[in-house]
Amino acid sequence: MKKGIIIFSLLFVVIYLLAQTKPKTASQGGTDKASVDRGKKIYDIYCLACHQADGSGVPRLNPPLIKTKWVLGDKKELITVILKGMDEPIEVDGEDYNNVMASHAFLKDQEVADVLTYVRKSFGNKASGVISSEVKTVRATMK
């Protein structure tokens, strides 16, 4: 009986630990909420001036980040934009945008993941987060 209680307790502890660590392994840096919070800080420094606090961008210059296919679509492409920058005009929702975006490869994998998680979950966007291993993979293919 005593043995049973110990096993049961151990099992409980293991389940508890698993439950605690699961989101960690999912985003490799804490929960999505934590990632969003860190991402906002990075956004405010490096992205906000061009893309604006509400993600609406600047007409003709800097594209909006609100529910566009660039933001909600393929994560790999989105990560590439951050790492490589963008030096070609793009069209979003029928409007052309021309300003140059510099490479932000100086950001660490986790920082890129955080800022993209923030962007994909803000401004009315409801997409999945980005994790640092996804950034690492894209960065590796660029070298």
């Binding site: 001036a49 604006q52 606090a53 609406s56 600047v58 005009p89 021309n98 510099a102 100086f106």
Partner: protein, 432 residues
């Protein structure tokens, strides 16, 4: 008795409300007559005695505009509308204008009349059209190419034009770069030294106004060290060129160890330049700090916010306006309609900022600088405001209108073009 009183009271109240309503209607009508109140409720705020007439509500992506000797309004469009880049508008008796003709298969910014010709610009060249004795364009589909092959990058690519009285045309060639960094707009990226862009851009070039097919080889680099200019005008009282320079962006994003986001929003100045042949205003090596009132060495070239270094002795602006307001038009007023203080003074249309975030965006207005003998003669003041349609905005997309072009009417009125919806206002003075 009681009911009679009630009836009388009711009639009185109804009568009063009727009067109040009538007054309100009159005010609205008056405002509508002056074009001050439109369907979207945007009201331009002007000095006492001035009124605004909306001559056209929405056109296209308007850039600069010019008024012909016959009173027709010529508007240059940034992008083609129905395949055309120049629209001619004619005002009707009720003050509203309609498009009577369109031509030109290129987008652009510059448009001006001089000595029997219409001059227009694309992003890479300048064209001219001969006018007949009635002031009409003779061959709208066959312009002469005056200048061709100018640098037109992905930023600051628009060309503005101004003509002097000695047969020359001046064209700004904006630098396709923020500050000539190795990596444009890159964090901590150093400036190229010397900046190779300056050979073919980042300045104002002078060409002959009547010679076809000129390019760099036939032109003169009249002034250098200007990052981007959109507002450009010739001042006939002193026979000199003036321009409004757009200062550089991104102090905080690229040099956060030196500048905080507030400094980055306020600096550097948007510069009002008096340009002489050979002027050098220092871009990309220098910028004008309107608080310290001096040209300062840029961080890309080793600057630390205060040192001048190679910027000592660089040409300075006659006014340093707050940062990032984006001056898109400059016009010296020579008409007789406005009061005496406006004569030969400068109107400047600011398109409004974007590089001020997270601070509120500013500068969506037309200002006036009193001038005497080609120099500012008193403090500048806001002339027309209210283009945003709301009290304040965080992002430029929230602005309903953005002033972009200025032109003087035959009668001395002032036309203002908007680039968002394509509205054009005519500002008139009817005070005493």
């Amino acid at each position: 008795m009681k009911s009679l009183c009630l009836k009388l009271c009711l009639i009185f109240v109804m009568g009063m409300s009727g009067i109040v309503q009538a007054v309100a209607n009159d005010t609205t009508k008056l405002a509508e007559k002056n074009g001050q109140r439109d369907v979207d409720n945007v009201v331009l705020k002007l000095p006492a005695g001035f009124g605004a007439v909306t001559v056209v509500d929405s056109l296209a992506r308007n850039r600069h505009l010019a008024v012909n000797s016959n009173g027709d309004i010529y508007v240059k469009l940034a992008r083609l509308k129905d395949g055309k880049g120049v629209l001619i508008l004619r005002e009707k008796a009720n003050g509203k204008a309609e498009v009577v003709k369109s031509f030109g298969n290129y987008g652009g910014t510059g448009i001006a009349f001089k000595n029997g010709y219409l001059y227009t610009s694309s992003d890479s060249g300048v064209y001219r059209y001969k006018l007949n004795e009635r002031g009409e364009v003779i061959s709208p589909d066959a312009p002469e190419t005056i200048v061709r092959g100018l640098v037109a990058g992905r930023q600051h690519q628009t060309k503005s034009i101004a003509l002097d009285n000695a047969g020359n045309i001046y064209v700004n060639i904006g630098a396709p770069s923020n500050s000539c960094q190795v990596e444009d707009r890159g964090k901590g990226s150093k400036g190229k030294d010397p900046c190779p862009i300056l050979d073919s851009a980042g300045g104002i070039w002078q060409f002959k106004a009547d010679k076809p097919n000129q390019s760099y080889a036939e032109g003169i680099r009249y002034a250098t060290g200007t990052r981007n200019i959109v507002g450009l005008d010739w001042n006939n009282t002193v026979n000199e060129l003036y321009a409004m320079q757009h200062g550089r962006d991104n102090f905080y994003q690229n040099w956060s160890e030196l500048y905080d986001s507030v400094e980055s929003a306020e600096l550097p100045a948007e510069e009002f330049l008096q340009i002489k042949k050979g002027s050098n205003f220092g871009w990309p090596y220098c910028y004008y700090d309107q608080v310290q009132k001096k040209k300062v060495l840029a961080p890309e070239y080793g600057g630390n916010k205060t040192t001048q270094g190679r910027c000592e002795g660089m040409d300075t602006p006659i006014i340093g306006f707050p940062g990032h307001w984006a001056p898109n038009a400059l016009l010296f007023y020579t008409g007789n309609m406005f009061p005496e203080k406006y004569r030969n003074g400068a109107f400047i249309a600011f398109h409004g900022s974007w590089n001020r975030a997270p601070l509120k965006q500013k500068g969506y207005q037309v200002i006036f600088v009193p001038m005497k003998d080609g120099k500012p003669n008193g403090e500048w003041e806001v002339f027309a405001d209210g283009f945003m349609g709301v009290q304040e905005i965080a992002a430029p997309r929230d602005a309903q209108y953005r002033p972009c072009g200025l032109a003087q009417g035959k009668d001395g009125s002032l036309y203002i073009s908007d680039s968002v919806k394509g509205r054009i206002w005519k500002i008139i003075y009817n005070g005493k």
